[in-house]
Symmetry: none
Subunit: 249 residues, 2 copies
Amino acid sequence: MLKEERQKYILDQVHLHHRVLLNDLSDSLNVSIDTVRRDVKELDKEKKLKKVHGGATSFGFMTFTKDDGNIYLKSKKISIAEKTVSLLSDGQVILMSGGTTNMEVAKLIPKKLVLTVFTPSLHVAMALLEHENVEVIFLGGKLLHDAKFAVGGTVVNALSQLRVDLCILGTGYLDAEFGLTEFDWEVIQVKQAMIRAAKKTVILTVSDKLHSVQKYKTCDMTAVHTLVTELDPSDPLLDSFRPFELMLV
Amino acid sequence: MLKEERQKYILDQVHLHHRVLLNDLSDSLNVSIDTVRRDVKELDKEKKLKKVHGGATSFGFMTFTKDDGNIYLKSKKISIAEKTVSLLSDGQVILMSGGTTNMEVAKLIPKKLVLTVFTPSLHVAMALLEHENVEVIFLGGKLLHDAKFAVGGTVVNALSQLRVDLCILGTGYLDAEFGLTEFDWEVIQVKQAMIRAAKKTVILTVSDKLHSVQKYKTCDMTAVHTLVTELDPSDPLLDSFRPFELMLV
DNA sequence: AAAAACTTTGCAAGTTTTTGCTGTTTTCGT
DNA sequence: ACGAAAACAGCAAAAACTTGCAAAGTTTTT
């Protein structure tokens, strides 16, 4: 097993569970505890995670529901959210997934915009309820403890009975070749159902997550109609997505 | 368990309840009181909380009035919540409605109690997700803007497919003659479905709401199995409920 | 193609951190 | 002021960490 693979696995685990034990890692990776220790030390130095006694945690693990510690990331997300909101129009019925970027969208929706929004995300639902003119319908199901996101058959089932105008997908890793990927199996089931239930799909991604691939695949790039990033649509970083029939915003 | 996890839990508890007892922490975290003491001491040094004799409080505890503004009402509700939590046992499947009293229950559930909870309340769901051992299933539907509570056919329908051990109804006005009443038609539809879906029903009511009646009727007193108030079960204020076959707590 | 230089990995010895336990001292409510 | 509960200090075992080193594998140089 390559060092790269190991470190990627470690990062995945940290992102997924917000913490890992060195012992567990050394166990599941079949390498000595020292190797894992060195890997984690490196990742810590690169600020990809936080090393702690006995293991590692993701950044923002300790922050008490206070958005992000990362100012740059946050301003990128707001920029994306502003662009996204401009795509909405009165009377639309839309789907919104979870994630911090979608949270910003939910907050930025104009007070007078009349919408019907379906969502499986507790946080997004909460933010949307601040808007009087937005009818919020929660897609109920088993809630994930970390993501506060409903998953499972109930959600997928409810989605199969919908046909909405727009689906706005928040978090996710994007690559021209591999499409949209995630590191949680249950989440991609829901996202796939969301895409099926919508006439058009919008993906929100901060440029950091472009050209990166995770374990599970949600959909191909061909399923996406609009890609919103904080970059200028003419930015060369987006070149690899131009062959697809999609709108860059 | 990592030290960071413990400290996050402690901070969460402090932020949630504005005070914690070291004994409770050591109990629910399954570590010695000394370890908790050292953790709290550290967090105090980092100005993340304020250590006091026997426990810790969050900063700005005295100025905190989000809940009710009414400190007496709040302490009544906490007392009710404590009694209610003692009715729960490992492995139960329960239903919880919304309301501030039920919120206190959600917060006070011991960390090691294993439960499955169905709820149509955003706030309760959110609070329950703080507990690792509680599986939370949200009953999805149209959300009421003020109550952050799901109502409508979807919820009632989902409830009709359930048969759970216990239903805990929070807010509500109670009267021996008129039973349980509410002022929202859509809410009582859901509460009625909740009662039907449960083997036993527990009502939580602060004594202020005893012997008061609202516009719409949820159910008769005969449908109630347990009544939890902040009063002593022998209090004369409860006399009018004694003719019914119910447990006073 | 062999040698040299470098990287990666696992091991072992020694150090530090963490944690629970033991008394002892301090604090608090009555 | 008294007894109980809480805080503290010191100790010891266990777990985690550090460092140095050598074997195995890679890459670069000659």
